[in-house]
């Protein structure tokens, strides 16, 4: 892994997607996930499709190699449905994709929309049988009277074909909208979380799931808090966390009881009184929670900041990074245009030394934890030529705007980067704008 973040020089490696400014709703990327080796990158979109890209590495032996991601497989994961009882449409938008650690030649992933989780098998076929005794090559059966000799089919190489097939469908377990899926380190179970409940599944069993968290009040009018994200600990198979719309994270131990309504730890930072406003609760709502690869820390994203928590300290985070503090004075407008409800995600790099998250105007932010360094970069075709190092951007909060700075009022709030991903081993990052995918690589690889 490369050295300090300050040494990194990110270049645009590839940009995928339509060049149009006109965005087709169905093409909007809704989730992004590398597999465990980083060889495969899965994207889900609002139209219910999944596109998997595969890394192809040129000149790997040379110190500065370039890797390219090309389409490996495309398939329709979820279709729109209609809930007749509630008279409501169930969107086919893919909310989350999570890869299952690989056990054999095939790849497995879980994909989910608001209500249904599916296990997909993606496998390669590069051979096919030829020379059937009773069938022609095109599949038509031969007239039995013309069969005079016996021959056994032989496998011959063919063009690579990647097939995706649904192996399991986990349905009818969530009344509310699923926001998270997380595979357990035991590789046998996984959890799915909606606004009020978390269920535990076995990957092989579709007709049964166990409810492990339920925060639904007896009287729905008393509801003031919902679950926003949940994740299993990367190494301890009994531990998971879930975050809430009130800015709290609860850690639960499944050994303690069947229903984990009592948390074993609760992480919450007391509010800074000088920052209190009407919008304090809304901006404290946690949109994403991610354990570090080491399992020692977890990261949370709320509207304005990224916080790193030490799992041994519940009272406050060990690090807080401001993503776009200049928006604090604009919260009323952002409330009015609903931007304040945008759910930004965050991610760790492979060795947990850096974290990344998105912002508006197609900006995204990277923070180097060890060197206390941060940078704002932009994902745009106009401002980046392939293989050219992209320039850091700066937002001017007020007062005199310097050259090359952009003022807060010029920011485009429709260009938001909600999904980012960091290759688990290499210095490669992927950033999704509304309908485009940008892949950046560190030149000093």
């Amino acid at each position: 892994m490369a050295g300090a973040g300050g040494d990194m020089q990110w270049c645009l490696s590839q940009a995928k997607g339509s060049l149009d400014d006109d965005v087709t709703e169905a093409d909007i990327i809704s989730t992004l996930e590398f597999n465990h080796t980083g060889e495969l990158l899965a994207t889900g979109d609002k139209g219910g499709r999944i596109v998997i890209f595969q890394q192809e590495i040129e000149n790997k032996r040379q110190p500065q190699y370039r890797s390219e991601y090309n389409v490996y497989s495309t398939f329709q994961s979820h279709e729109p449905e209609f809930d007749y009882l509630k008279s409501l449409e169930i969107e086919e938008k893919i909310n989350k994709i999570r890869w299952i650690p690989q056990k054999n030649a095939a790849h497995f992933l879980l994909s989910t929309n608001d209500k249904t989780i599916k296990l997909w098998k993606i496998s390669e076929r590069d051979k096919r049988p030829e020379g059937y005794n009773l069938k022609e090559e095109d599949g038509r059966y031969r007239d039995p009277s013309t069969v005079t000799s016996l021959r056994v089919p032989v496998f011959r190489p063919m063009d690579l074909m990647v097939e995706a097939s649904p192996r399991k469908v986990f349905a009818n377990a969530h009344t509310y909208h699923i926001n998270s899926v997380s595979v357990n380190s035991d590789n046998e179970t996984y959890l799915s979380a909606d606004d009020l409940r978390i269920n535990l599944w076995h990957l092989e069993i579709t007709d049964r799931s166990f409810n492990i968290v339920d925060i639904k009040p007896a009287n729905m009018e008393e509801l003031t808090e919902v679950i926003t994200a949940a994740e299993f600990h990367p190494h301890q198979c009994n531990t998971f966390v879930y975050s809430s719309s009130k800015g709290t994270i609860r850690m639960c131990d499944m050994r303690a009881s069947a229903l984990c309504d009592k948390h074993s730890k609760m992480f919450e930072e007391p509010e800074d009184p000088s920052n209190r406003s009407f919008f304090s609760e809304i901006i404290s709502s946690i949109s994403d929670v991610k354990f570090s690869h080491s399992g020692r820390y977890m990261m949370t994203r709320d509207y304005l900041s990224v916080k790193i928590w030490d799992l041994n300290m519940e009272s406050k985070p060990v690090e807080t990074y401001q993503v776009h503090e200049y928006l604090r004075s604009k919260l009323c407008s952002l409330y009015e245009n609903d931007c304040i409800f945008d759910k930004f995600e965050c991610c760790w790099n492979g060795n947990d030394s850096m974290v990344m998250t998105g912002s508006y105007n197609n900006f995204f932010r990277m923070f180097d934890r060890d060197h206390r360094w941060d940078v704002t970069l932009e994902a745009s075709r106009e401002n980046s030529k392939p293989f050219q190092v992209i320039k850091p951007r700066k937002v001017c909060a007020g007062g005199k705007r310097k050259k090359d700075e952009i003022s807060v009022d010029s920011l485009d709030f429709n260009k938001k980067i909600l999904h980012t991903a960091w290759h688990p081993q290499d210095s490669i990052i992927v950033v999704a704008t509304t309908n485009n995918l940008y892949i950046f690589q560190d030149k000093m690889n």
Partner: protein
């Protein structure tokens, strides 16, 4: 509690404190207006028509919490009286799994009317809340079943004329006025004075129901005069 400016007190010694009082008055007016604007926006968000898909529960819960907080704050300040309640939003789920926003336990008649009615004057005396009939949430009050008559008013000076308004408020009202569709509301209350905005932030917000808002001068209390009140009453009785 939200951080807010100091309350301006009438009996404060004004000598040598005028400047300070003015500044704090500005702050408190600004705070009040912002609170009102946010309240209106929140109502609009909750009650506007939704498309086919189910709206996000988190968003509804957060907006509802916002409304409740503002409502609690207003109640504590005691300057608010329970008004008629809008009908509950249509149930999303016949099996009661849906989250129905608990309507504010003080009602609002229309967003604009609310803006006018709830804009509080710092000169207003505090009205005791328990002098008024408690209305159960989520229920449209029919005056014929109203347990107690509206209290005789010891009306705060410079604010709503209670007597006249009370009669109107507890009258049987056409529920179609509770439609928060900005198009119909704007049409109906076009004659009403627009919601006033105060600071830059609020100015930038497009009020869906009104034209350009006049700038309120900082030290002018919110006076609703009787002609304006007549307008409101006309709207309320749907004439």
């Amino acid at each position: 509690m939200f951080g807010k400016g100091a309350k301006r007190k009438l009996d404060e010694d004004e000598e040598g404190l005028e400047g300070k009082a003015l500044a704090s008055a500005v702050a408190s007016v600004s705070y009040t207006l912002q609170r009102q604007t946010i309240f209106n926006i929140s109502l609009m968000k909750l009650y506007s028509q939704r498309p086919l898909g189910e709206p996000s529960l988190e968003r509804r819960v957060l907006i509802n919490n916002m409304l409740r907080r503002i409502q609690d704050e207003l109640k504590q300040e005691g300057s608010l009286r329970p008004l008629l309640l809008p009908p509950s939003p249509p149930p999303d789920d016949p099996m009661d799994e849906g989250f129905r926003e608990a309507p504010p336990s003080f009602g609002v008649l229309s967003a604009t009317a609310a803006g006018v009615l709830l804009a509080e004057s710092r000169c207003a005396e505090v009205r005791p809340m328990d002098a008024l009939p408690a209305l159960p949430p989520g229920v449209l009050v029919d005056i014929t079943s109203s347990p107690s008559s509206p209290p005789s008013s010891s009306s705060p000076s410079g604010f709503l004329s209670d007597l006249a308004l009370d009669d109107v408020l507890f009258a049987d009202i056409d529920t179609s006025m509770y439609d928060f569709d900005p198009c119909t509301t704007a049409g109906a209350v076009g004659a009403l004075p627009p919601v006033v905005t105060a600071d830059d932030l609020l100015k930038s917000l497009a009020s869906p129901y009104s034209g350009p808002a006049p700038q309120v001068s900082a030290n002018q209390p919110f006076k609703i005069d009787l002609t304006e009140l007549d307008h409101i009453m006309e709207v309320l009785v749907g004439s």
